[in-house]
């Protein structure tokens, strides 16, 4: 399925990239999405990104909720006029039959408070299941996207469940030799859920959060937006772990989100600052 999508999007002009090697909550955090969504340069890329969402862990007991799963992400800047058709073409390519499956575009305005980003779009439903997040980015890191990028985020496990017609993600065949998704990941889900919810040392996590935030500031002072952004991603994930441990009160929650957002915004601002002379030289009339 991944190979089919790679072929499909590659044939439509996308760079095929690899996952970012850090813990993150969504493919959107990949620098190929976040940072590249800023500025005037055209940018078309597709990649797989493993995602970690500690609070979504269910100890391997829920048929389609996981604390670790895979997203397939496509980013197209500027958003092409036929993006919906392109997307539907990719579903057909991986074997979704539109005469037997009900595909729907259901309003879902995307917002990432930790990235200071928002966009309008839909969650795409296949027979009632959300299989893709479809978003036209309007802002990233608090900055207007000029031009707007279209982002497609496929839930790979969920699509595979459709194609293989299984009830539980753990029953997915990983290969034709009898290895299932459960064989590969079930134990991981049980252990990681236990760690996320019960075991993770919260003092250590609070400490890590502070250190990531401090290091981000350090990078920003050194005018290094990419390392700064990495530290923001790190802080964001540590915050998610603290949430899963249930040690952040409602009032504090906003403060933490604000802190991460400031870090991410700082990194985006530094990225823009660094690139603006070049962007303006190559795209006359472009302004922030």
């Amino acid at each position: 399925m991944i190979l089919t999508l790679h072929d499909y999007w590659s044939a439509r002009g996308c760079l095929i990239l690899q996952p970012y090697d850090m813990r993150m909550g969504a493919g959107t955090f990949h620098t190929a999405t976040t940072l590249r969504a800023l500025g005037p340069e055209p940018w078309n890329a597709a990649f797989v990104q493993p995602c970690r969402r500690p609070t979504d862990g269910r100890y391997g007991e829920n048929p389609n909720r996981l604390q670790h799963y895979y997203q397939y992400q496509v980013i197209l800047k500027p958003s092409p006029a036929d993006l919906q058709e392109l997307y539907l073409g990719s579903l057909a390519a991986i074997g979704i039959d539109f005469t037997r499956h009900d595909i729907r575009f259901v309003e879902d305005d995307w917002e990432s408070p930790t990235l200071g980003a928002w966009g309008l779009g839909w969650e795409v439903w296949c027979d009632g299941m959300e299989v893709t997040q479809f978003t036209y980015f309007q802002q990233m890191g608090g900055f207007d996207c000029k031009p707007v990028a279209g982002e497609l985020t496929y839930g790979l496990e969920r699509l595979a469940m459709y194609i293989q017609n299984v009830d539980s993600v753990y029953d997915l065949a990983f290969n034709d030799a009898g290895v299932s998704y459960g064989d590969v990941f079930h134990e991981n889900e049980v252990q990681m859920s236990t760690w996320n919810f019960e075991v993770a040392n919260t003092d250590t996590l609070f400490d890590q959060f502070r250190k990531a935030a401090a290091e981000c500031e350090n990078c920003l002072e050194a005018k290094l937006p990419i390392p700064a952004y990495e530290q923001a991603i790190e802080a964001s994930h540590i915050f998610n772990l603290l949430q899963a441990r249930g040690v952040i009160s409602v009032a504090e929650r906003q403060a933490y989100i604000g802190r991460v957002r400031d870090l991410a915004k700082g990194a985006c601002a530094a990225w823009i600052e660094k690139n603006t002379p070049d962007w303006q030289a190559r795209y006359s009339g472009w302004t922030l």
Binding site: P40, R58, E61, N62, P63, N64, R65, P78, S79, P80, A81, Q84, F98, T99, R100, H101, D102, I103, R104, F105, V106, E107, D109, G119, L120, G121, W122, C126, D127, G128, M129, Y136, Q138, D144, C145, K146, P147, V148, G150, M161, Y162, D167, G246, S249, V250, A251, Y283, W286
Partner: protein
């Protein structure tokens, strides 16, 4: 003109428009279009609008082919006027002197505006409408979005069909050019179709699997979903919101019924219904016994090749995963006792200046207990509906409030039990806020707590109170009647209201972030529906004391057992108890807030007036006149809402009788005379200033004040009186105490009847006696008599507030 009338079709096609925005978008389209026509001096015979997920359409029938020619004449200066005046006029109109017309020595500028072609008007109107469209949220897209000035629409705009008769109305918006082409259903008919005119629009689309009329799609969803449930021997739980939403998500709706595993029915039915509705937009069904059945109805957007088999199967799986999640939360939550969960409330801030939710719980628990101990809420509420009653004892009630100490020991024990339950329920009421299920579905707050409390062995009345203590939530929501629930619900709302008024954060205009209007309305309905007696101000004062405790605890001070009061010394305020200082704080704008303390010291603003306003709004729907509520409130000191409303109702019945209307007229005449004479309201009355404070410099001031101090009573001046005066005096002597007695006994009908006896004598007095007699003594006596009329009437209500 009708023979030339033509229909116009406009379709604005875009990527999927959110379902919830479609109705408003149709209204806006019709409104903006009508405004554009109006500006051009055109009018359509009829405007019809349609919305689907992918198109917003308008058909305007019977438009004229051209607008009417307009002749505008502007009057200018006289021909004899100086040259500057003429120059100014020419500048203003943009004409030259030879273009002006002269009539009767005056210059006129005549502008002939020829009629415009309707097609031209429309070609300008379409871009104007699109650019001005008020979507609740709009976006930029595509290459053009390199500028933030690019067109905004709800989602990318894909096409425009604009046909006037059979002709395309040419226009272009942000690269989208109008034409006659559109597309059919996304999957059934993805190709381009050409529309001939407004007349064939709906049917051409139908042939391409698009039902453009939203009402028709709604009817299909509604009727087909019901039919499917009926075929399965079930009945659909109707939900018009879901009907509209599903119709807004489909161009060709096909409802399908599926089943989920019956094991999930162990999860509370409200949870199943909510997750099905909110997350999946499914209808649910009930079985013959009215219980939730393991069936759902989803609405597909296609006529599937396999009859929908795979679609149903896919939807079943999704629902199963959702329900599996709900069951996970439910079972996890059940394992933790609510009392244990409640401890986590210390970490949740209720409001930064009013403490944590745990602080609130502490206050509500004490207030709920107090409401029971004071007999305000008892085990036999006189309201109509009854919840389960916990104790067999029935409290005797009289008009005056019973103190628990006067009850016999059995009743006191009943009161204690009720107080214990109210306190217990209050301590558990907010605990579900930290449960997984409420975290996932905040709208289940209360309900889940009720389930958990019940399952964890709490008393049924306690569980019920936990469940229902947020009620009544809206105007139509049911009002709790079970005593434990009433106590907790009332305490919760009083605490919230008093707290935010301490902070001086009353709602303004449309801003009411803490839903204080709803809380006040809740209090009013709890009190009136259950006939809860007592002084609202006293309850609110108790709530203030509890806020003070939160504040003292947050400062690490001990809370005194005896009542606290405030001492003012220059710029300092000292909170005292039994002569000892509890807390001392400065009066300064930047002084720390100290919970309720500063507010109570400096701003003793009470929410009672706020309640009065809410009461008027609420009672208006019950047909009670707001001026009559004002008339009773104006007397002051009345804050027993039950008594107040009883009085208002009796008053309303009275003023609509002939006696009442005449008495009101007599009263107003008396009041007007007194006002003109500078005759103030009697000092015993508590009437707002504008009602009758003496005007300084009024010649009669001294004299009338003297008379006011000693109004004629009994037979003092009988000898000199005219018969009408004597009769009125006698009537007053009888009616005034009778009315006062009746009011004290809360027999307001009798009070009104007593007042009614004054009507005849007052009428006779005005007929037979001239108040403004040349003899100052007579005049003063008569004015004093009228003042007594006013005073007598005021034993019942301040009639000056009554309209008409």
């Amino acid at each position: 003109m009708t023979d030339l009338a033509t229909d116009f079709l406009l379709e604005l096609r875009s990527e999927e428009i959110p379902a919830r925005m479609q109705d408003k978008a149709r209204e806006d389209l019709a409104r903006l279009f009508a405004a554009e026509l109006d500006r051009a001096g055109m009018k359509a015979g009829e405007i019809v609008t349609y919305a689907t997920p992918r198109r917003l359409a308008l058909i305007a029938r019977e438009l004229p082919a051209e607008t009417a020619a307009v002749r505008e004449e502007t009057k200018g200066p006289r021909t004899s006027a100086p040259a500057q005046a003429l120059e100014g006029f020419l500048r203003k109109t943009g004409l030259s002197a030879d273009q002006l017309t002269e009539r009767d020595g005056v210059w006129f500028a005549v502008l002939e505006k020829p009629g415009r072609k309707a097609a031209d008007v429309l070609a300008e109107a379409i871009p104007a409408i699109v650019r001005a469209f008020p979507w609740p949220k709009s976006m930029r897209w595509g290459a053009a979005s390199a500028s933030t000035e690019s067109l905004r629409w709800v989602r990318p705009l894909q096409g425009i069909v604009a046909l006037f008769g059979d002709d395309v109305v040419p226009c272009e918006i942000a690269g989208v050019v109008s034409g006659a082409a559109t597309v059919g259903h996304r999957f059934h008919h993805p190709g381009v179709i050409t529309i001939g005119s407004a007349a064939d629009y709906v049917e051409k689309l139908r042939a391409c699997h698009v039902i453009v009329d939203q009402d028709e799609r709604r009817a299909i969803v509604r009727e087909r979903a019901s039919a499917l449930a009926a075929e399965a021997g079930l009945s659909l739980i109707a939900d018009e919101g879901l009907v509209a939403e599903n119709a807004g998500l489909t161009e060709w709706p096909v409802p399908l019924l599926g089943r989920f595993e019956p094991e999930f029915l162990s999860v509370p039915p409200e949870v199943i219904q909510l997750t099905a509705r909110v997350n999946q937009k499914y209808f649910v069904c009930s079985d013959a016994s009215g219980k939730l059945a393991n069936a759902f109805v989803c609405t597909a957007n296609i006529e599937a090749a396999d009859g929908g088999e795979r679609i149903v199967e896919g939807n079943r799986k999704v629902l199963a995963a959702r329900l599996s999640d709900a069951r996970f939360f439910y079972e996890t939550d059940l394992k933790v006792p609510l009392a244990e969960q409640a401890k986590k409330l210390e970490k949740i801030v209720f409001h930064e200046k009013l403490g944590t939710v745990a602080d609130k719980v502490e206050r509500v628990a004490k207030l709920a207990r107090w409401l029971v101990e004071e007999g305000i809420v008892s085990s036999s509420l006189p309201g109509e509906g009854r919840g389960p009653v916990g104790t067999s004892e029935v409290t005797e009630r009289s008009a005056s409030q019973q103190q628990p100490s006067r009850l016999d020991p059995g009743l006191r024990r009943g009161t204690e039990e009720l107080a214990d339950m109210a306190e217990r329920a209050a301590r558990l009421a907010k605990a579900d806020l930290v449960t997984g299920m409420v975290g996932e579905f905040p709208e289940l707050q209360g309900l889940m707590g009720g389930y958990y409390a019940g399952a964890q062995g709490e008393d049924a009345q306690v569980a019920e109170a936990v469940r229902d203590h947020y009620k009544p939530v809206g105007q139509g929501d049911e009002v709790p009647t079970a005593p434990v629930t009433v106590a907790v619900s009332l305490a919760d709302k009083l605490d919230t209201l008093r707290g935010f008024f301490l902070l001086e954060e009353p709602p303004t205009g449309s801003k009411d972030p803490f839903a204080l209007r709803r809380a006040a309305l809740g209090v009013i309905r709890l009190v009136t529906d259950n006939g809860l007696r007592g002084s609202l101000s006293t309850w609110l004062t108790k709530a203030v004391d509890l806020h003070l405790e939160t504040c003292l605890r947050s400062l690490g001070r001990t809370v005194p057992e005896k009542p606290m009061y405030l001492e003012v010394q220059g710029d300092t305020r000292r909170l005292m108890s039994e002569g000892a200082e509890v807390l001392c704080f400065p009066v300064a704008a930047d002084a720390p807030f100290y919970g309720g303390v500063r507010a109570q010291g400096l701003h003793p603003a009470s929410p009672v007036d706020f309640f009065a306003d809410r009461l008027k709004v609420q009672q208006r729907e019950a047909g009670v006149r707001h001026d009559l509520i004002d008339a009773v409130f104006a007397l002051g000191g009345e804050d027993d809402l039950v008594r107040l409303l009883a009085r208002v109702r009796a008053l309303q019945a009275f003023v609509t009788t002939e006696d009442g209307a005449n008495l009101l007229a007599g009263y107003k005449r008396a009041a007007n005379i007194l006002k003109k004479e500078g005759y103030g309201a009697s000092p015993t009355d508590v009437i707002p200033a504008e009602a009758g404070i003496q005007t300084p410099g009024d010649g009669d001031g001294v004299e009338t004040t003297a008379a006011l101090d000693s109004p004629p009573r009994g037979n003092d001046h009988k000898g000199a009186m005219e018969p009408a005066e004597a009769d009125l005096l006698a009537a007053l002597d009888a009616a005034e105490p009778a009315a006062a007695r009746a009011v004290a006994a809360e027999d307001f009908e009798a009070a009104m009847a007593a007042l009614a006896t004054l009507r005849g004598p007052i009428d006779a007095f005005f007929e037979g006696v001239i108040v403004n007699d040349p003899d100052p003594a007579k005049r003063a006596r008569r004015l004093a008599l009228l003042d007594r009329v006013r005073t007598a009437v005021h034993t019942v209500a301040d009639f000056s507030k009554i309209e008409g």
